[in-house]
């Protein structure tokens, strides 16, 4: 239907104006504006839109597994406390921060909608906080100078880590792949950092050279379930995708130590929650630990054999690693921080979906729409990669993790994503490959995709098939998701009276997770 045929006669037709006015420029302009405004209004009223963060059902993530033993619950509580404890450089009870770091506390990055989640925002339920990275100098965690808040860290934006795809030398981007994390801040100037003199990276230069990409925190809810999905289950699921009609063909990322399928992180580069914790403790907070025992320079310092200045080493005077097993403690206090973090994450329950309906700040969603959305989600092919459920293996850790359905909405495979490419390789995942992001808990998330570029779910879906970009003489190739995105776009925007499955239903379903 051409809407102009319906709208324009009523406003601008012969009966709408005297004949002396019909041909005048002002009349045509007015009619044009009026029709445009009407179309915009109609479009705004009927177009599909992300309903927003689910708020009427309370916080539906962040609790422990439901049937934890009393002993295990003590370890969970202890791990959560440590997860939420700020670290300092020296002189406190939790030392070792820096010399380079992004933030000083696990739960500041992993906080939406509860500890263990992702980037928070002050404006959206449960109103956790402004972007904590944007407050680092204000709160005295880093000192300016030499530190400053990079332009890509915004009060209402996501927490971000920065990576440079290629090394920069003499003000020019080289052809040598970097890909590592360049921490945003240093401890220089802090009263507990001695005489450490260490400049932060030149992010303005990297931005000017277009040699910077971002990552946001991945939620860790249900981590124990993901750890305990067996190789055979993953391979069977992989096999079931043969012959799909959507052009999808994933692959696995493999752990370099034992050759098994790795599964955590945006590119499935990490094997376990413990490894994930150990790496983050060192890379994001600069705290050496039993998995990563040495202070970490930024990638260019390592690449150029510069390392860290001696004035910034062993700042708390206790030697390395800065986090280790507490031999003189008792009970849950004995494990090192990274082990405690691992326990906390492993025993976190999976987020609880709300298929019965919910409300957000702007709308109310019915169970009927959610059910239609699930059907649409499967039919258009989303579920081919976002596998709704995989069963866990028997678990020696807790019965709650043993032989249970993990409703993660992921195949844990890596897929070619075309224009989303970030030119960072991790394990066997190339620059355009990303793990299928688990969707459990997505109903209460704010920022989407690996760099947080998508502020709503509709954008996140369409960005699965971004136009293919070129680089010099080499072109990146298309996304595996393009056919599914096209199928989604062939659903009507809204259901209307016929109650057919619509794009809106799919969005409503996703916010129920």
């Amino acid at each position: 239907m051409n809407p102009w045929q319906v709208v324009s006669p009523a406003i601008c037709g012969r009966r709408a104006a005297p004949s002396r006015l019909r041909g005048s420029i002002s009349f045509k302009l007015r009619c044009g504006f009026a029709v445009f405004a009407l179309l915009v209004a109609i479009g705004a009223a009927s177009a599909q839109t992300d309903p927003g963060v689910r708020s009427s059902t309370g916080v539906n993530a962040g609790g422990p597994l439901p049937d934890l033993s009393t002993a295990a619950a003590k370890f969970f509580d202890n791990g959560e406390t440590r997860f939420e404890t700020p670290e300092v450089v020296s002189g406190g009870t939790n030392n070792g921060l820096g010399p380079r770091f992004n933030l000083n506390q696990c739960s500041t990055c992993h906080s939406q909608p509860a500890p263990g989640g992702s980037s928070p925002n002050i404006n959206q339920y449960p109103f956790v906080s402004v972007n904590p990275e944007s407050q680092v100098i204000k709160n005295g965690i880093a000192v300016s100078p030499p530190n400053s808040i990079p332009s890509f860290v915004l009060v209402n934006g996501p927490v971000r880590e920065a990576r440079f795809p290629f090394f920069i030398e003499n003000g020019q981007v080289t052809k040598t792949a970097d890909g590592g994390v360049h921490d945003l801040f240093t401890v220089q100037g802090r009263s507990d950092a001695g005489n450490c003199v260490l400049a932060p990276p030149n992010f303005a230069q990297a931005e000017q050279l277009n040699d910077i990409i971002f990552r946001i925190p991945t939620p860790v809810f249900g981590l124990g379930f993901m750890e305990n999905i067996g190789e055979t289950t993953l391979i069977d699921n992989f096999n079931s995708q043969i012959g799909n009609s959507f052009g999808i063909s994933g692959a696995f990322n493999y752990n370099g130590n034992d050759g098994t399928i790795s599964r955590f992180g945006w590119k499935a580069q990490n094997k376990s929650g413990l490894l994930f914790a150990g790496e983050a403790y060192n890379v994001e907070m600069g705290i050496t630990n039993e998995l990563f025992q040495n202070e970490r320079p930024n990638p260019d310092e390592e690449h150029n054999f510069i390392g860290l200045p001696s004035s910034c080493l062993n700042l708390d005077g206790a030697g390395y690693p800065e986090d280790s097993t507490n031999f003189t403690a008792t009970g849950p206090a004995i494990p090192s921080d990274i082990v405690a973090f691992g326990i906390f994450m492993r025993l976190l329950a999976q987020p609880t979906p709300q298929p019965q309906g919910y409300s957000t700040a702007t709308t109310t969603v019915t169970a009927q729409s959610i059910a239609r959305g699930l059907s649409g989600f499967t039919s258009v092919g989303c579920a081919t990669c976002h596998t709704p459920t995989l069963e866990t293996d028997p678990s020696s850790i807790d019965g709650d993790l043993s032989g249970k359905p993990a409703n993660l909405y992921s195949d844990i495979e890596i897929h070619h994503m075309g224009g989303l490419a970030d030119n960072v390789m991790q394990g066997t995942a190339g620059g355009d490959q990303f793990r299928t992001a688990p969707l459990w808990g997505v109903g209460q998330r704010i920022f989407f995709l690996h760099d947080g570029r998508a502020p709503d779910l509709l954008t996140a879906i369409t960005d699965h098939c971004l136009p293919v970009a070129t680089s010099g003489s080499e072109a990146s190739q298309g996304s595996e998701a393009c056919t599914v995105v096209t199928n989604f776009q062939n659903l009507p925007p809204t259901s209307g009276a016929a109650n057919t499955v619509s794009q809106q239903d799919v969005l409503n379903f996703l916010r129920s997770l």
Binding site: I242, L390, G418, N423, T428, G431, S471, S479, E480
Partner: protein
């Protein structure tokens, strides 16, 4: 400003407000969330970090993934395929790189944006290298049957697999739909050079779908290429699965990988009439892996393949690196179960 103009301005502004508050924001103008620079912004000459990807030992020999759309026609020299796009259709996206399980998404076609509506639909052209599928899946009909048997509960079969003949070639036609969404799919599958080539038509409107499928009769296949197992003439070799077995290989050197990455490395080779390998196609390999495999394969020698008393070229596949998970798992076909949904 006259009263009527002020009212109009207020009206327009109020109409625009919901857009700014709720609707999709273009990827380049999201306030507060600056984007990553795109790969296209990387300085001229910088290499894309591709990881494992496809490559070949020469640029003259056609590859499955090297088809393209021009003059409203998708052409693919490897498959001898020429597919005229429906009127006013375009390529929405080229395919992703070949997978390590031998899957190609060759191209995705949709109506031009100006024509898109709810009945827009799409045509996806894919290929599956049957050298790298598990043993129970040997032919195109096996793959179609597998698709049929693994349809989820949301789908309903609308057309049982049946034979069709297009461009002198046997195709299998299969159709299904999703009653809840009103989307319908038709698959035309055929076998060329030991690949299953599939045309997947999707549309909301069954009549449009039928018309598009009928128009597929305009597919042109080069008879010198499009035989099931290769024509063994001109530059099209005969294709034989598992030809690189002990009985056929006279000299063999295994590649020495300097880094153990655990990924499968599927390789298609063409063995010349003299028994030496004249072409290597890496479907998916890291550069160091393709270098090591190339160095090894340069030392391989096969028994010449004889047909009608004359040596002919042979195309076959070899899996280096770790075994593809599918190959490993399907040694027990019953393990291929649909996952819990």
């Amino acid at each position: 400003m006259a009263t009527s103009s002020r009212l109009l301005a207020v009206f327009i502004a109020s109409a625009l407000l919901p857009l700014s508050a709720q609707s999709i924001v273009s990827s380049d103008s999201r306030p507060g969330v600056p984007n990553n620079p795109t790969p296209g912004s990387i300085p001229e000459g910088a290499l894309l970090v591709k990881g494992a990807t496809s490559s070949a030992s020469d640029s003259e020999t056609a590859l499955p993934e090297s088809g393209s759309v021009s003059n409203n026609t998708y052409t693919n020299r490897y498959f001898g395929l020429s597919f005229p796009l429906p009127a006013d259709w375009i390529q929405k996206s080229p395919g992703p790189p070949p997978s390590d399980s031998g899957r190609y998404g060759l191209t995705l076609l949709t109506p031009a944006p100006a024509l898109k509506g709810l009945a827009g639909g799409s045509i996806l052209i894919t290929a599956q290298d049957m050298f790298f599928t598990p043993d129970p899946l040997t032919h195109a009909s096996d793959l179609v049957d597998f698709t049929k048997s693994h349809l989820q509960g949301d789908y309903k079969i609308e057309q049982e697999p049946s034979d069709a003949h297009i461009a002198g070639q046997r195709f299998i036609s299969f159709g299904y739909g999703s009653p809840s969404t009103g989307l319908h799919w038709r698959i035309l599958a055929t076998e060329i050079r030991c690949h299953t080539l599939e045309f997947v038509f999707m549309n909301r409107d069954p009549q449009t779908l039928d018309r598009l499928v009928r128009e597929a009769n305009a597919i042109d296949l080069d008879s010198a290429v499009s035989t099931l197992s290769g024509a063994a003439q001109d530059d099209v070799p005969v294709c034989i699965k598992a030809y690189a077995s002990a009985g056929n290989v006279i000299e063999r050197v295994d590649p020495l990988f300097t880094e153990h990455r655990y990924n499968p490395v599927p390789v298609r080779i063409i063995v010349g009439k003299d028994g030496r390998i004249r072409h290597i196609h890496f479907l998916n390999a890291f550069p160091d892996q393709s270098k090591a495999v190339t160095e090894a394969l340069n030392h391989w020698k096969f028994k010449p393949y004889i047909r009608d008393g004359k040596p002919v070229e042979v195309e076959t596949g070899i899996m280096f690196g770790s075994r593809a998970p599918r190959l490993a798992a399907l040694s027990n076909p019953t393990s291929v179960a649909a996952p819990a949904r």
